[in-house]
Symmetry: C2
Subunit: 382 residues, 2 copies
């Protein structure tokens, strides 16, 4: 058990996500030092405020043991499985001043699928719990068709649209991932325990909440940022005028992801939220799986067929990532310390960004450290 | 019977609309001289081509007599009832190089409603003949609700969506106008003869085709430009992927009018055209009558409540109209001849444009001729 893993398990229990001050504190000091300082109460006020209620609660080892007993694992930024690139959108948005979208410190994961692979070019399908037959039918069809195209389907495992989307993807023999607003072991929603087991067999069930955390309304909203971040785009199938699905959609918009909505009969209250998204929030109307793939591809996701790529590989990078990328040598590798000095980006942040850049083929490790890679070498030139 | 009226009745029968060369020829020479020249074959090649097949067919007096017997009249640009302002969009688009949208030379009208009044802030509702129950129900609801708001409803009197829209407007005790792709006396569509009589009782039935002209596919498409031009915006309720309703919508777009579409179930072939309009052609999704009124108002139509006006009254004017407007005196009136000299716009065109400008409150008649009016005086200053 590495010290980083223990530290992150401790930190996940100490603060209720999203905890932007703590996330920044960990980025600055690394997880081990940050955990020690938090435990001692030696941290800036904002961090203290986020952690004071639970900082003496060190259940890290117990949480990790319990997770293992339940077939779950903690995936951290230090692991290969960490979906660094999709989650970078949370850092970028937070850096731009967006509220409530701090990155997760780690994620509890149960399932055979690798989270980083599932989160590559995935699509979220979300919608109302009180869905109509039309909505559930449409969500299942979309989930099925995306699975058949090899596109992982993310959703929130709720009744209604979410469940239909997961089931459709499973029927299509695809990868599907459920992101929860409670602990993996909360047994919630009760009627979906069997569905969650089936999801874990081929995909993954994901949560940032430590074992035993019950569901809560605010946790669903907080969870929504992960569904939006881990996917290239979000499809809202049915939604009332005020709904969690619309919250996921607007978060996806804040993160620069594609927002899509399915139309329906104009008299249906369950389609009213979708129609508003299309009319007022410029969500793209999607009426078929090819509409979804076109829309996600059109706006820059790396589709397997490579038909639609961003104009430059570095287009989606945040300001710090761009500075790190620019500080990389073209041939000779540089040490993270050297890159930190040259870019002016804190060392811990450089250490987090380099693997993220590597994931997208913009950096690579070599004998002397890190250098630019592949497409990135050319693409980075204006 | 004025010479202009006889000349325009002759010209309407001589050329199959749209006849851009003939329209320009009439604008240059006036209808009487143009008719004489066409009859003699003394016209530019383009005009000869448009008129050679029928130029010896002078049935003007007979057409006017027959129309009168059937309770119809010829409305010409020389009449107060001429909807000069809405139709100006056709001249503007033609001037910009758009094909197939030449203005009509006159219009045959049957009905108690005044065409110029009906065409003020009107909305077109169009759609598939092979509509679903959902589509017909939605069209009838929209027609009814617009009528209740005092908004005239234009459509094409076809089976399906068109008929439902007209019927809804009649039920709402509103003004509704049918624009036909055949003569007023063609008795087409056969099943809508009674409906057309009811439309004429409170609104109007309109056609640019002389008595006896049978319906034809190309005439429906040509007719569509009039529906688009005479209204502030067009709502497509249901449409297949290739359909006349989509043609009306794209014409409305070319004319700078508002294009709207009603969504429906994603599995319905009759909603596929609407979904494409919203997704690919940036039609505004409308799910209710307030959506329609918001959209039409938002984009600059002069709604009765005056909530949304164009930024300047002169914004929608074509290049010749702007030159004529600029040549008007602020206090002292000028003669049309003087305005033609100063603006460089042909006298016949000046004579047509002055009443059009008057309709929108941009010019007014006074003892010494024409001058700028009302809002126009201030609005014209940058």
């Amino acid at each position: 058990m590495s010290a980083e893993r223990l530290a992150r398990a401790y930190l996940l229990r100490v603060a209720e996500p999203p905890a932007p001050a703590l996330v920044a504190f960990v980025a600055e000091h690394g997880p081990v030092e940050a955990a020690t300082l938090v435990r001692l109460g030696h941290a800036p006020d904002a961090v203290i405020q986020e952690t004071s209620a639970r900082r003496e609660l060190d259940l890290a080892q117990r949480d990790l043991d319990e997770a293992a007993r339940n077939g779950a694992r903690l995936v951290t930024p230090e692991d290969d499985e960490w979906p660094a690139w999709p989650l970078l959108s949370l850092d970028v948005a937070t850096g731009r001043g967006a509220q409530g979208v701090a990155a997760p410190l780690a994620l509890w994961v149960r399932g055979r699928g690798r989270l980083d692979e599932a989160a590559q070019d995935a699509v979220a399908i979300v919608g109302a719990r009180a869905a109509t037959d039309y909505g559930e039918h449409t969500a299942a069809d979309l989930g099925y068709a995306l699975a058949e195209q090899g596109v992982p389907v993310f959703s929130g495992a709720a009744y209604g649209i979410d469940g239909a989307a997961h089931r459709g993807a499973l029927t299509g023999h695809g990868v599907t991932v459920a992101v929860l607003g409670c602990a993996l072991d909360a047994g919630y929603p009760a009627g979906h325990v069997g569905l969650l087991n089936r999801i874990a067999e081929r995909g993954a069930v994901v949560s940032e909440y430590p074992p035993g955390t019950p569901p809560a309304r605010h946790r669903f909203l907080v969870r929504n940022r992960l569904i939006a971040a881990l996917t290239a785009g979000t499809v809202v199938v049915e939604a009332g005028r005020r709904s969690g699905a619309r919250n996921t959609a607007s978060t996806a918009g804040v993160l620069g992801k594609v927002v899509m909505a399915v139309p329906g009969p104009v008299g249906s209250a369950m389609s009213a939220g979708c129609h508003e998204l299309i009319r007022d929030a410029h969500a793209t109307l999607v009426a078929s799986v090819s509409d979804v793939l076109d829309t996600v591809g059109r706006l820059g996701a790396d589709r397997p067929d490579g038909t639609a790529r961003p104009r430059r590989r570095t287009d989606g990078l945040g300001p710090q990532a761009i500075r790190v990328h620019e500080a990389l040598g073209e041939r000779r590798g540089k040490s993270p310390e050297g890159i930190a000095t040259e870019s002016g980006v804190p060392l811990a942040r450089v250490r987090a960004l380099l693997p993220a850049l590597e994931l997208d083929g913009l950096s690579e490790r070599c004998e002397t450290g890190w250098r630019r890679a592949g497409d990135g070498r050319k693409a980075a030139r204006p």
